[in-house]
Symmetry: C2
Amino acid sequence: MSFEPPPRLLLGSGPSPVPQRVRDALAQPTVGHLDPFFVELMEETAGLLRTTFRTENAATLPVSATGSGGMDSLIANFVEPGDRVVVGANGLFGDRLTDALGRAGADVVRVEADWGRAIDLDELRSAIDAGTDAVCVVHGETSTGVCQPLEGLSAACRDAGALLLVDCVTTLSGQPVLLDEWGIDAAFSGSQKCLGAPPGLAPFTAGERALEKLRGRESPVRSWFFDLSLVLGYWDGEGGRVYHHTAPVNMIYALAEALRIVAEEGLEARWERHRRAHEALRDALAQLGLDRLAPDGEELWPLLAVRIPDGIDDISVRGALLTEHGVEIAGSLGPLAGRVWRVGVMGEGARPEPQERLVTALAQLMRRDPAPALEALEAGWAHASA
Amino acid sequence: MSFEPPPRLLLGSGPSPVPQRVRDALAQPTVGHLDPFFVELMEETAGLLRTTFRTENAATLPVSATGSGGMDSLIANFVEPGDRVVVGANGLFGDRLTDALGRAGADVVRVEADWGRAIDLDELRSAIDAGTDAVCVVHGETSTGVCQPLEGLSAACRDAGALLLVDCVTTLSGQPVLLDEWGIDAAFSGSQKCLGAPPGLAPFTAGERALEKLRGRESPVRSWFFDLSLVLGYWDGEGGRVYHHTAPVNMIYALAEALRIVAEEGLEARWERHRRAHEALRDALAQLGLDRLAPDGEELWPLLAVRIPDGIDDISVRGALLTEHGVEIAGSLGPLAGRVWRVGVMGEGARPEPQERLVTALAQLMRRDPAPALEALEAGWAHASA
């Protein structure tokens, strides 16, 4: 080994702390991408992803790219040039969807909300009409810590003959994502948020309505790499696996192990732990004068975005937190830059010990008494587990 | 650890054997993608990639996807709809380029050769005219074990005002790739071939002529994920690093370590070792009646494709080689399916010990006396090192 990364407690916007078991899996000897052992692991991984997405979709797999490659894949497959696409835009990732949809030649209709607020569902629904081909929304807007309610969107999409396409990067396994029950037609996520694997893979799932759209395209999918019909020839065992690209074998070892850990904990218990962790930390940080940006009912459990009080300098506090205490939290972007911190409540970071370490260090750097915050943290966890 | 992959000697078309040092690096604790430690590692990785590509290109980085994501990235950035692109097609990867170029809206001119032969350089050059926007060739055609000579292509491209775009997936660090000297404008590779890292990253480089084309595009790059101008905002330190996507941190640890190993051995010594290994194994396999497909002067050092003699069944021998001996070699595709084996001579596989193991096992399964083949192998290495 020629290098050793500094020890970091990852409480930023992701990656989240990677458990030792996952790192051990990552480092297992590489096998071929068509090795019988690996093919079996692919089956297992796809099955675990289905459980985690709460879906029966056969077309469920990790895209061989990072989370935003999942976004590109979603748009490349299910949006055609000239399609009318309604997109929810209330943060960086909604803007990114807008950008990517424009590149794909879509006629984009933006439904906006302020950064830090959910999009009004009535506004979203009323933007959908018979000419709408797809609706794209970000479930967990990581740039602002807001979770977008999705009620009624699926029905509106089905009435209009449109697809419902959802970015679940930050919510998957950290907040309920009920893919089939909610009528989501296709979605993507990232390996490095609540799943606790390293960054590098984009869990992806598509249902029959989305696949129908894919089969009926007038123009080919513009990306060879992301073309789901080719990727499925490798991932879907039916009729033998045809080589498409060389799968990122070791990253899939890690993802499989991370998904096993999710399954061992149980998906509902894991959601609940993220909720508890969010609420306990919210109460603790409020004692330090760090109030949550998102109003009640719009909060994203895996990411707590808080306003930085006057007199506290974003960069210097975050820098000292990282270099003196080894704790990473994230700053903000766009209209929130310098005014908001984003604290990850993801995977192994959503536990009392790492939160206690963060609260203690932040209190010291902000020159506040840590006691009330630590008491609130403890009370939050105790209350939650009562 | 919930699982343990079976021990495999990877002598197929890639992945190649991953050294323990690289696996150790892979399993190091994850840090954030904007952590100062990681930013330093990005600088080092880009520098090592430049050395390995023999280029001064500032725009050199690992694309966050597997090798074929590098292909998509190359085409997405440097080919516009309506561009006239000459493509060399003499195997699966030339066909793949053709497919991807068609999806990108290019007007594709194919210059073909039989699978197992290089493309005639005169034919390639004479297909290039003033209307040509780009020439795409596969340097190492992994599907057939042929290395494409590139002499004079760059001059013809420059005369025509066209870009020279090259797939170096299998050649990088296993056979000379002199990016700047040969006038290649942009190229991509894969982490899992001669570099000896796990699959999952696509080393990528682009020079000034390619970047000029990118800047002057009439239409935006269709892929948000692969848009090099956005990726460079993160990878190119000038003016601070702007978040684009979350880099696959641990995979970059592994690639950096693999590139350090390449640098320690020395690039020219590594090329030479691959040549020796290729020739020694060629002689050894010939003793078993397995003759090389590629004629002299067209051989791809990192991949030895050999004809399967009559009476030897492809599937059953390869199957027994894998399950009884733990040795992976690759079959073939398209017109060569069932008739040709492809043996990797890549990275740590390009050494006497793994080759001896392969030759011994193959001789046994083919019911041949191993002695002449092992003698030829030994003589090949001894001769080479004399």
